[in-house]
């Protein structure tokens, strides 16, 4: 259920399942290869068809293992690339936020509060975290909104949202 909302987690689970399947199948392949080798060694009283079938099974399993291993490697590479992309996007996002804060000439404490506002923390919690009165936080927020020329929380957030969506359209 959680996996549906977090595709990354779902992919990770798929990778684990794939790896487990590879292990099991590879062990089966080794069992058959060992059996074929031992049968060949004993030579005399084996019926040929049985041996041929076993050899084919061993080959098919081995080929399957190699194929699945390649799949797993590609899946791993894709996940690593995606993680890099997300990290880069995060870096871009914080650069963007910094740039806007600079433009609005926020003071260091206003930057801190603005960031908490962006993260969705309410005034009450901000006041507790900073060890100040709620009224102080409210006053600081008002100054931030004034500097950014917005009406409040939602509009402050929408500035960044708009920037991100535009970046996506280009």
């Amino acid at each position: 259920m959680i996996a549906r909302h977090f595709p990354a987690l779902k992919r990770e689970r798929r990778a684990v399942a794939l790896a487990a399947l590879i292990l099991l199948q590879a062990l089966c392949a080794m069992f058959f290869i060992g059996d074929v080798v031992i049968d060949l060694g004993q030579g005399d009283h084996l019926d040929d068809l049985h041996l041929i079938l076993e050899a084919i099974a061993a080959l098919a399993l081995s080929a399957g293992v190699i194929y699945l291993m390649r799949e797993l490697r590609d899946l791993n590479n894709r996940m690593a690339a995606m993680e890099l992309g997300i990290r880069a996007a995060r870096g871009d996002m914080s650069n963007l936020i910094d740039a806007f804060f600079d433009q609005w000439r926020l003071t260091p404490s206003e930057r801190e509060i603005a960031l908490m506002v962006l993260k969705g923390i309410d005034n009450d919690s901000i006041a507790k975290m900073r060890g100040t009165a709620q009224s102080t936080v409210r006053a600081q927020c008002t100054r931030i909104y004034a500097k950014a020329q917005v009406d409040g929380r939602a509009q402050l957030l929408s500035i960044f949202m708009e920037e991100l969506l535009h970046a996506g359209e280009q």
């Binding site: 990770e12 062990l27 080794m30 797993l72 260091p108």
Partner: protein
């Protein structure tokens, strides 16, 4: 206050890097389980002991094949066995070097190959003991015994090494072998 991310572990500025793919992790814990079973649980005369031994052999075989073309940090070429580099690493350690290695560190790499070879020797001599040709031959049984004792020594060294490197580098290594991610403190150089 910097805007940058603090990752989910709550340690400020730590970088979380995916390192061990699921196949590496499953082989690692699978091998640990087979060794535990054969060393401490199963009767060594039993057929199950033999089969668990073959599974261990198979796991090492799979890991070696995966090491030829698997994902980046799991490839054998990412941690070649180089005693000279390992010695240099040892000297660097004694001088308080804090470098974090994404794959195995040079000493750890030697331990990995040592374990694999030891398990292969155990498997081979174990198989030989069951064949007509080598049944009851002294040197084969002794080799199996010596390899087993060496494996126990190796396991102690391995666990000690992991504990030491976790303390030295600040990367929780056991956790990285469970969920595959190394959490590297921000100030550590990475190799």
């Amino acid at each position: 206050m910097p805007v940058g991310d603090t990752s989910e572990c709550g340690c400020p500025g730590a970088r979380t890097i995916p390192v061990w793919d699921p196949l590496v992790r499953l082989v690692h814990w699978g091998l640990a389980l087979t060794i535990l079973l054969n060393a401490a649980v199963l009767d060594e005369e039993s057929a199950l002991h033999e089969w668990v031994g073959y599974v261990a052999l198979g796991l090492v075989g799979i890991r070696l094949i995966w090491g030829l073309f698997g994902s980046r940090h799991s490839r054998l070429s990412a941690f070649p066995p180089k005693p000279v580099t390992a010695m240099r690493h040892l000297v660097a350690l004694s001088k308080g070097d804090k470098t974090v290695h994404l794959s195995h560190n040079p000493l750890g790499a030697l331990m990995v190959y040592n374990m694999w070879v030891t398990v292969l020797v155990l498997g081979a001599t174990g198989y030989m003991m069951g064949t007509m040709q080598f049944f009851g031959v002294d040197w084969v049984e002794e080799a199996h015994e010596i390899a087993f004792n060496w494996l126990l020594v190796s396991i102690v060294l391995h666990i000690g090494g992991v504990a030491f490197d976790t303390w030295r580098s600040g990367v929780p290594l056991v956790r990285s072998m469970i969920d595959g991610r190394k959490r590297v403190p921000q100030d550590r150089p990475v190799e």
